[in-house]
């Protein structure tokens, strides 16, 4: 059984800072932080908790991307422009596969490629570092990011320079 209090005490501030950075809204960041821990508790049996900071960072990123998707915030900074461009990819990507159909039938969605994109393009992780984070090979990460970029015709030009 996870000790929620211990987990929050140790990692809560890091997770909240991550959510604040991506969402720029204290109330939403707090919700996202709590949701991050809820997901960890729910998936505790299949998660490697040897070094939770990496896992929590990624899950928090995923949670925030989900929230940003419905919010359509106007970007103000360079990083925000890239971040919102990555969020936009989902709309485009989902349209290709008929989002309504897939969402209705399967009711789930993955942000993994977009999470990788945030780690690489926003957080500045190298492909090797992203690879270490998500447990895919470097070539696998490159492949997923390349696919995402190719579908994102309308992205900010800086995204392509990454």
């Amino acid at each position: 059984m996870l000790d929620t209090k211990f987990l929050y005490e140790r990692y809560g501030p890091m997770v909240l800072r991550r959510c604040r950075y991506l969402l720029r809204n204290e109330e939403k960041a707090l919700d996202a932080m709590q949701d991050t821990f809820v997901r960890v508790i729910h998936h505790k049996k299949r998660l490697n908790m040897d070094a939770p900071s990496s896992l929590l960072y990624r899950i928090a990123t995923n949670v925030c991307l989900n929230m940003l998707r419905s919010e359509r915030r106007h970007p103000h900074t360079h990083d925000e422009k890239i971040l919102m461009s990555i969020v936009d990819v989902e709309e485009h990507e989902s349209n290709i596969v008929n989002r309504h159909l897939i969402d209705k039938l399967f009711g789930r969605e993955s942000q993994s490629t977009k999470t990788m994109a945030v780690l690489h393009y926003v957080d500045g992780m190298t492909l090797q570092e992203v690879s270490n984070e998500v447990g895919l090979s470097v070539s696998g990460v490159r492949k997923r990011l390349r696919g995402l970029k190719e579908r994102a015709k309308h992205l900010h030009k800086d995204f392509y320079n990454g």
């Binding site: 809820v38 299949r46 897939i102 039938l105």
Partner: protein, 269 residues
């Protein structure tokens, strides 16, 4: 390292003591040499204090557990209710399959897969093995692909699995460049997730084929017991290192695993 700025995520993990030994040493050296980095670290420590005093562990942990209970507790209780398992799972599988068939599969595929012997659905389900179902979206039509069918770069593929009673599983693919890709679960580390037994379960995202040559081969690995995903991942990388073998050989896995594969042949582009 002296001129490289330490990103926030590294500094966070340095403070938590969760960087690799090498990286921890590098950041430590840079902290000694760069007062501005020490200032950033001090700011993080101060932020920790501010957050934990504004949002106390007692209240936050209670709130998190309450949200968990509200979100997942009901599901767990419903799963725990006594039912007639065979009848229930059969009905669920049938209803899910019906939705998939009606919405996704063209009529000719339905006819092709319909039982010709008039045998009961239950008997067929009992004999079912874990397998993958692959769909290709082409224009407004979605077609089911069979083993060995031709595909092209840019084709959008949707994977589904049928657990057929196996409790745990993972899906990987190997392409003609020897690249291994994890398709399920979403998180690559840790233990394999429990598999949904509700008939045909689609993965939450579609997959666009890239320009890797020759083939794209998908593996569905299942087990009755939870397994370390690294075992399957390593076996996939070993097989992928020899592309010719990756086209036709099985993954070398310890006893207890069941594996299914389907290969899609790449057309020239």
């Amino acid at each position: 390292m002296a001129n490289k700025e330490v990103p926030d995520w590294q500094l966070e993990r340095y403070l938590l003591g969760e960087l690799s030994a090498n990286l921890e040493k590098e950041v430590g050296n840079q902290l000694d040499a760069d007062p501005s980095l020490q200032t950033r670290l001090d700011a993080l420590k101060e932020s920790n204090r501010e957050i934990l005093s504004s949002y106390t562990p007692e209240i936050q942990s209670r709130q998190i557990e309450l949200t968990y209970e509200q979100t997942y507790g009901k599901q767990k209780r419903e799963r725990g209710r006594p039912t007639r398992p065979k009848l229930r799972s059969f009905a669920y599988a049938l209803s899910t399959a019906a939705v998939i068939l009606i919405v996704l599969i063209p009529l000719r595929n339905i006819l092709r897969q319909a039982p010709s012997d008039g045998g009961s659905e239950e008997i067929r389900l009992k004999g079912l093995n874990p397998h993958l179902v692959v769909y290709r979206k082409s224009g407004d039509e979605i077609n089911r692909l069979e083993d060995g069918e031709s595909v092209a770069p840019g084709d959008v593929i949707q994977l589904s699995f049928v657990a057929a009673g196996k409790s745990y599983g993972a899906i990987y693919s190997i392409d003609g460049r020897g690249v291994v890709t994890l398709h399920y679960p979403d998180i690559a580390e840790g233990t394999s997730p429990g598999l949904d037994q509700g008939g045909e379960i689609s993965l939450p995202y579609a997959y666009e084929l890239d320009d890797a040559p020759l083939f794209e081969r998908f593996f569905f690995i299942t087990s009755d017991e939870p397994f370390d995903l690294a075992v399957v991942r390593d076996a996939a990388h070993t097989l992928a290192s020899q592309v010719k073998r990756a086209e036709r050989k099985r993954l070398k896995l310890p006893p207890g695993f069941k594996q299914y594969s389907i290969i899609l042949r790449k057309r020239e582009y």
